[in-house]
């Protein structure tokens, strides 16, 4: 056992049993080492500063599926709650309300096997996107990098939904991209699913004999890490143009060079309607690789690069932007790729220029390198303006629904109470992009409170601000998403699951039934996916307004999804 031995929450014989599985150097109960695992990750501020996050009682570092299965069986025997974590991008993967849980840190499971010919890769949980792309892009194959960045676990992100910029071209939803899966159930049984039923090397297909149970693997939209541990996953890869993407530049301004079959184009439109028409026509024409409606704020973030503090640089430029300038300039950023040939790129560019010309698009300068799509998508940038980036909700629906949601959010941002607390986006609508060649649209509602003002331990702490932020996040955003008929994607991350469940056909009842069946001892991240519900109830009860409750009731009464026109 590494460090101090403490058997306060997990009994000594259980600790010794766990130690016998991984060896003494890969398990600890030391409170200093365990405290490194408190509430870190996405939205850490809200959870951490609300005072509910707890350090685990022990941390264990397994290396193989078999070790994980034995660990989980031991947890069942001793009734020890456990939670797994791969890249630790999110803080909601476990029962961080409790003092007695075992944290299963999966970083030693970092192997990958590439099948270039059949275009798939088998991954263990700790392999991240940059590592995967490092191996696959030089062979002309890609996956889909998420906004969380190159350090995000491919496997864990795939369980979440795997959204990212390439979802425009390659199949949306990683759940439709994965093939065979190896899973350790909440009771510690090893299951191999999909084509793996044919044998240990048959990773090529998601379906197999019997029912497809991949729905059990859902993360955020499922049990939030509370349904066992996926230990290996095969995921499809997709062809990109030939040629390596060689890195250049210093860290704060690094990039990869594009091949001669790739081109970024930035176009400004005067209205969101024109952007929408352009997006629709592009999809019908079957052109584009990445299609992204970039808020003006992001452009100032991207340009704040140098030795002066980024924060100073950003505010120097953003502070000068007028509301008219921002709200009347809607920028579409498009990556064209000639996957088959250079002629394809030239063709797509001509079609794109025809379409944008029709809707009054004006070409802007575009740097012909890639900073943040293939390896380094990095939402850390979004912390730059204020030290915190609060995702309030996410909508997925038709273009019309997503735009309606954005316009309502924009109107809300002009309210004085809001602009006093949060960075003023100056009339821009939230980010959105096209998925699956225009079949689905995705948008995120963001708010930027000053991180220091949200932190009770900081001299700048602003009494009541965390509560107001949570009200905007839960009720204001939740109401807009619900009423405009968008599928809220961040269930159990930014919205209390049970509160919203009636608007989604009471899906929590299904979650509970499956959980009871597969996890009878309630040890696999118990409390999930309702940790967020509990935090709101205990720490921010005012975040749930009567208006929101009414909105949910109305939607629950029908028509379903709250959007009679959809």
């Amino acid at each position: 056992m590494k460090g101090e031995k403490i058997y306060k929450y997990i009994p000594e014989d259980a600790c010794l049993a766990l130690e016998s599985i991984v060896g003494a150097e890969y398990i600890t109960t030391d409170p200093v080492i365990c405290s490194a695992y408190v509430g870190r990750g996405f939205d850490r501020e809200v959870v951490h500063f609300s005072g509910v996050a707890r350090a685990p009682a022990a941390v264990i570092l397994p290396e193989t599926t078999e070790e994980i299965a034995r660990i989980v069986k031991t947890c069942n025997r001793y009734k020890i709650p456990f939670t797994p974590m791969s890249s630790y991008g999110m803080a909601f993967g476990g029962p961080n309300f409790r003092d007695d849980f075992l944290f299963i840190d999966l970083k030693r499971m970092n192997k990958m096997w590439l099948d270039e010919k059949n275009m798939y890769v088998v991954l263990e949980p700790a392999v991240n996107f940059a590592q995967m792309h490092g191996e696959t892009i030089k062979r002309g194959l890609i996956g889909c990098l998420p906004g969380g960045g190159g350090g995000v676990s491919v496997l864990a992100n795939s369980l979440v939904n795997g959204m990212g910029l390439f979802n425009y071209r390659i199949t949306y939803s990683s759940q439709r991209r994965w093939n065979g899966i190896e899973w350790v159930s909440p009771e510690g049984e090893i299951y191999r699913m999909g084509s793996l039923v044919e044998g240990e090397d048959s990773w090529y297909w998601q379906d197999g004999i019997g029912p497809n149970v991949s729905g059990l693997m859902h993360g955020i939209t499922g049990w939030g890490g509370g349904m066992g541990i996926v230990t290996k996953m095969s995921t499809k890869l997709y062809p990109i143009s030939e040629g390596a993407l060689e890195p250049e530049g210093v860290s704060y301004d690094s990039y990869v060079k594009l091949t001669d079959r790739m081109k970024w184009i930035n176009v400004a439109f005067s209205s969101e309607k024109d952007v929408g028409k352009t997006l629709s026509e592009m999809a019908r024409a079957g052109i584009g690789f990445v299609v992204n409606r970039v808020p003006g704020l992001w452009r100032d973030i991207a340009k704040s690069r140098g030795n002066l503090a980024f924060r100073n640089m950003f505010w120097k430029s953003w502070g000068k932007r007028t509301r008219d300038e921002v709200s009347n300039r809607r920028v579409l950023r498009v990556l064209l790729v000639g996957r088959a040939s250079k002629a394809q790129l030239e063709y797509e560019e001509r079609v794109f220029m025809d379409i944008t010309g029709k809707y009054g698009g004006k070409l802007l300068e575009a740097r012909q390198v890639d900073e943040a799509s293939f390896f380094a998508v990095n939402s850390l940038d979004m912390w730059q303006p204020t030290g915190m980036f609060g995702d309030c909700d996410v909508g997925m629906e038709s273009l019309r629904c997503v735009r309606a949601m954005g316009e309502e959010w924009r109107a809300k941002e002009t309210k004085k109470e809001y602009t006093a607390d949060f960075l003023d986006p100056k009339g821009d609508t939230p980010w959105y992009m096209s998925y699956n060649m225009g079949r689905l649209y995705y948008s995120e509602l963001h708010a930027w409170p000053d991180a220091a003002q949200m932190d009770p331990g900081d001299v700048a702490y602003k009494e009541g601000l965390p509560g107001r932020f949570m009200r905007y996040r839960v009720s204001e955003a939740g109401k807009i998403v619900t009423e405009t008929g968008n599928q809220s994607f961040f269930q159990s991350i930014v919205t209390p699951t049970r509160l919203f469940s009636p608007a989604f056909q009471n899906y929590d009842l299904w979650l509970d039934r499956f959980k009871k069946e597969f996890d009878p001892n309630d040890v696999s991240a118990p409390g999930q996916p309702y940790v967020y519900d509990r935090m709101v109830e205990e720490m921010f009860p005012g975040a749930v307004t009567e208006e929101l409750k009414e909105a949910v009731k109305k939607v629950a009464a029908g028509p379903w999804n709250g959007n009679p026109e959809s």
Binding site: A36, A309, R311, A376
Partner: protein
């Protein structure tokens, strides 16, 4: 609304914001994503990779510092001491913290080390012999200072008075005299008169990096006085540790900017590169060797000039007055490479992790003394990466790095300091 007053020196309380707000999604674990080329050689933090537990990386340390500052854990834990000192203080996480945001992670870790020592839980017992040697004899090996200039090769005589002072450093003076001899030969080949200090003292790098601030401050003040007394206009170093200590840590500890030192601080590679370009230093001998270059942390990402800053963090975190940051990319990276490229026959190949993404060999900051197994692993890991380039030799610019590679080497790669290559090609 209270604006927060900050100094951003070596006071741990000034880094509470870092500890609480660093959005550590594992980014400091990896090198710059655009440079990653697979699972292998993608880590940036040696102790984090070696130990596995997050407490050994900066993300975990942020949580631990937060808890230390709020009193939830105390400073007496042996585990705390181990994870604080099992760290080569290489500045790699600092580059990550400043890639997208403005986090001072290296300064925070330096302040943590200082605080742990102040609280009586450091340095490590293994650090005491070296500390005592420096205090007693003026060099880390405890050798008589009278032997300090024994390295001088025949035929090279330092000037009694010159505008260039060669600060040799303990390792090159006592244990790896090939480096000092080669440096002297390069200076002679460029026809640059240089002087040596009378009874040159240890720069105090070991003392500072093991968190012994009060002792290090005294050494810095004494040494600065001695250097200034020589009236040198330029002080040249062949040791990256000494170079960074005088250029960055002395001003940091004593509260002024590097440009206020009163003399120019140069690494021999900066001067030699310029002299080659000017034609003052002639490359006459080709060297037929495939070389990969290892960036020493103290010459690369840690060597940007020190600029003190005091001010306020205001709403939205805006710094008033505006701050410039040492982001790690403005270190001495190109001169050594330019020198190697200038030598006919040398083929320079890069490892995956280079420039500010270079992987540390973990021999610095007391790691070699207290955790030799870890230090050897880290050196071996770097050699494994070097071997994968197909290079025949690994070259660096620091006696500490050379020692690390010689310790870890299994003989499949030749190991040189750049001064040795340069002296051979200019002789």
């Amino acid at each position: 609304m209270a604006d927060e007053k900050l100094e951003l020196g070596l006071n741990l309380e000034d880094y509470r914001y870092e500890a609480r707000h660093y959005p550590a999604q594992g980014h400091a674990r990896w090198i710059d994503y655009n440079y990653i080329r697979g699972v292998d050689f993608s880590w940036r933090c040696p102790p984090w990779q070696y130990e596995g537990f997050d407490a050994y990386g900066v993300a975990g340390k942020c949580s631990i510092i937060d808890r230390l500052l709020s009193g939830d854990i105390d400073y007496s834990s042996p585990t705390l001491r181990e994870l604080v000192f099992k760290d080569p203080m290489c500045g790699s996480c600092d580059v990550a913290g400043k890639r997208d945001l403005d986090f001072e992670l290296q300064l925070m870790l330096e302040a943590l080390r200082v605080r742990v020592v102040e609280k009586g839980n450091g340095p490590m017992p293994e650090h005491l012999p070296v500390t005592q040697n420096i205090e007693r004899t003026g060099n880390r090996f405890g050798k008589p200072q009278s032997e300090r200039n024994n390295w001088l090769p025949r035929g090279i005589k330092p000037a009694a008075k010159a505008s260039v002072l060669y600060f040799v450093g303990c390792r090159a003076a006592f244990s790896d005299t090939k480096i000092s001899q080669s440096t002297a030969r390069v200076l002679a080949a460029a026809d640059v008169p240089f002087m040596l200090m009378n009874n040159e003292p240890c720069c105090g790098h070991f003392i500072y990096t093991t968190g012994q601030l009060n002792k290090a401050k005294q050494i810095a003040a004494d040494n600065l006085k001695l250097i200034r007394q020589t009236e040198a206009k330029t002080v040249v170093f062949s040791c990256a540790e000494c170079y960074k200590t005088v250029k960055v840590d002395y001003p940091k500890m004593l509260g002024f900017a590097t440009e206020e030192l009163g003399f120019e601080v140069k690494h021999i590679t900066e001067l030699a590169d310029a002299w080659i370009k000017e034609g003052k230093l002639k490359i006459v001998n080709p060297i037929d060797l495939k070389i990969t270059y290892h960036d020493p942390c103290n010459l690369g990402r840690l060597s940007e000039p020190w600029q003190p800053w005091q001010g306020l963090r205001k709403q939205w975190g805006i710094f008033d007055p505006p701050r410039t940051l040492r982001r790690g990319h403005d270190g001495i990276y190109e001169p050594p490479r330019a020198i190697l490229r200038a030598i006919p026959g040398v083929k320079l190949v890069e490892m995956i992790r280079h420039h500010e993404n270079a992987f540390c060999d973990a021999h610095d900051a007391g790691v070699k003394e207290a955790f030799p197994q870890f230090a050897t692993w880290s050196g071996s890991e770097r050699l494994r990466e070097a071997a994968q380039t197909g290079a025949e030799a690994i070259v660096s610019c620091c006696p500490g790095c050379k020692e690390a590679f010689l310790t870890a080497s299994r003989g499949n790669l030749q190991v040189y300091d750049i001064t040795e290559i340069l002296a051979k090609s200019t002789a």
